[in-house]
Symmetry: C2
């Protein structure tokens, strides 16, 4: 498959300039970005007149639990601890691989509609989920979710299998969190990181109660604990990072670890507001995720990016506390690098063709005082005209090319009764 | 124009139940809501198979400055005071009626795409704006914006003219704010309210600096001052209400005044977070607005409703601090009653046909664990399939019936250079 996009504007995300011209794809890669060019000697499978619409790298959802779409609007009245133990864990005990297959597909439909071209997903029934990803054509990076209730027995096998499953699928070592993982298991985690010289990812400092509990058990914060145990010796990162201390930030900065923000989920579960500006002041590696649909409840990177930009303003009493382009970088190239997708970070020749088209005829994208700011401050899923992953157009003008949305909705509502 | 919507689900907003059946319109009114019904003896101009999609009352944007779309992404680095004096007021000095006409149309396009069927708008060049509203078919309620720099001389004439202009247009007495209006002018405002037995609306307690300044000048908060001056003797309300004291809330409660929330603008301008739960605990009259595009920067009632629901969670450490249905009421019927649109609050026979259709095939509306919560917690403009005002479909499947979006965008970007 080769596509020629012409009459387009292109935000490569290498910097914040917007160039006018063409972008060509050849199979899974970008083959040309530059001024309009004669194509008499070249054939494309498809030529798309973009009519001035904007191409940019797909958004990267750097922390999610895709198949948790089952729990959207199901138990909105609980804080994190009760939400997990009273609402989520009992239902997850009944989740079958088939459930995960369909609810992951529902999440992919949501991602594609919202311009998301890759997700960093922590959940279970991973093989059935991988099947759903490949059928959809979605770029899915699994994160280990091991904890004391299970997963450590399978972690190494998952790592081997799912890194050799399909070019669209990969697997990163990870565990659920300190408060669900005893010290012995944390040491297993560290040993595995060392065995494979691999980065490790986990939920970290999501609530103040989590940090207090860790301090009671170990006398230190989770970041300090994991660092001491050698878990981060080969990189990785943490999800949420709401209650990081300056020392935690220093550890993450010094080790080039990724801090992944989840603003909506943290608000909804009453966990707290991440001081995003403190991470940016230290020039840390940052990325953005939606968390699962049970605690967000959308899967919109636009809403996340907006909140990551404005939520620091009140605390700092500074409307320039967080620069919107820095947040757009976190939501695109940052997320890609966080999850090891080094060829999906920006648009340039030779990089993967994971591209979205923003509809500049949407009123929320106008006037064009500053297109980058329009994206961060006022765009939503309605502005996504097309989503391409690995050189294939999977969503265009509201239509999915690989997903049957009616079938997915029917199956998800059928299964829903097993889980309520 | 008469329309039969069949195979639909209907959330009337009289309560939170969803009924299945049909909704008929006859000119500007709803003529039937109920079970599927034989129509052999009745002719409609159009019959729409809703295929299970949801009809509900249009969202009401209860505080906005529509034509401020000119300032979207223009000066995002200022707090309220500097933003007004350095970025906005100098540019507004150059705003012509023609600018307002086109930038208001851009806002209408945004409103219609986001399921908004009426706005409560505080701005100037009102006659040219009224023309834009009527051409669009948009229901526009003007709010007086008088202050010491101008507007008091025209307030009564605007009130008379614009309440007799067109059924889609009305006008409410209002002034900009305490900090821009001297005591003599506040007394003029009060006299006019008494002359017409009319409600009065204003910006109120948006920033802590505003409240401090009012206390320095008068020894009391703005709400107490306005109450003492008799400004609220015939009702009305306030926009923002971020820094209300308990006494302010009591005044608003006892006088049945409307508190209108603007969460996004208050975050972006670093003004603060409104403790929405305190207004709900007192069972006060509440409504929701986007404020202008310069300080939001979207014009999305979905994003507002989401934030009004979740932003109280962190302060209260209670994920049930604010009930989503209460917020959806504020965003629909609350807004309508706030701005005097007593026939646009809920869907029932005889009420105005100001109706939107939510696309239930959007992944963010699935699964159907709780449709009301899906709307508040995860919907965005992408879920709006149709927007009808006064019985006329103005937006359907992304297409405008009365607006030429390309022309609007062209004109707005042409004018943009006059204002930067």
């Amino acid at each position: 498959m080769s596509v020629r996009f012409y009459n387009c504007r292109i935000l490569t995300m290498s910097d914040d300039t917007i160039i006018e011209g063409e972008l060509w794809t050849d199979n899974d890669r970008i083959s040309y970005i530059g001024p309009a060019k004669s194509v008499s000697d070249k054939r494309f499978d498809r030529e798309i007149d973009c009519k001035g619409n904007l191409l940019m790298p797909g958004l990267k959802n750097a922390h999610t639990h895709s198949a948790m779409t089952f729990s959207r609007s199901l138990a909105d009245e609980y804080c994190l601890n009760d939400w997990l133990h009273k609402a989520i864990f009992p239902r997850e005990a009944n989740l079958t691989p088939e459930h995960v297959y369909w609810f992951a597909k529902l999440a992919y439909a949501d991602y594609l509609a919202g311009g998301i071209t890759a997700c960093f997903d922590m959940y279970f029934h991973k093989y059935e989920n991988a099947k759903a990803a490949v059928e959809t054509g979605f770029r899915h990076v699994f994160c280990g979710a091991a904890n004391d209730y299970g997963g450590f027995d399978m972690l190494e096998q998952n790592y081997i299998d799912l890194n050799d499953y399909d070019p669209l699928v990969s697997f990163k070592l990870g565990f659920h969190a300190e408060y669900t993982t005893c010290e012995d298991n944390l040491k297993v985690m560290s040993d595995l990181a060392h065995k494979y010289s691999a980065p490790v990812y986990t939920h970290i400092s999501e609530t103040s109660e989590e940090v207090d509990g860790c301090k009671e058990r170990y006398g230190v914060t989770p970041a300090v604990l994991f660092d001491k145990l050698g878990i981060f010796d080969f990189g990785g990162g943490g999800f949420h990072c709401v209650w990081f201390t300056d020392e935690d930030r220093d550890i993450f900065k010094n080790r080039d670890l990724w801090s992944v923000f989840n603003a909506c989920s943290n608000l909804k579960l009453a966990s707290g507001i991440t001081p995003v500006y403190k991470f940016i002041e230290k020039n840390m590696n940052i990325a953005i995720g939606t968390d699962g649909a049970g605690s967000n409840n959308a899967l919109s990177m636009f809403r996340e990016m907006y909140l990551d930009t404005v939520l620091s303003n009140v605390e700092t009493h500074n409307t320039a506390a967080v620069d919107p382009f820095t947040i757009l970088k976190a939501g695109t190239s940052g997320g890609a690098l966080c999850m090891g997708l080094n060829d999906c970070d920006v648009l340039s020749e030779g990089k993967k063709a994971d591209i979205i088209m923003i509809d500049m005829n949407k009123p929320s994208m106008q006037p064009e005082n500053n297109i980058v700011r329009n994206i961060v401050y006022s765009a939503d899923n309605d502005c996504v005209k097309m989503t391409m992953i690995d050189g294939k157009i999977l969503y265009e003008d509201g239509v999915y090319t690989t997903l049957d949305i009616c079938e997915i909705i029917r199956e998800c509502n059928k299964f829903k009764k097993d889980l309520v």
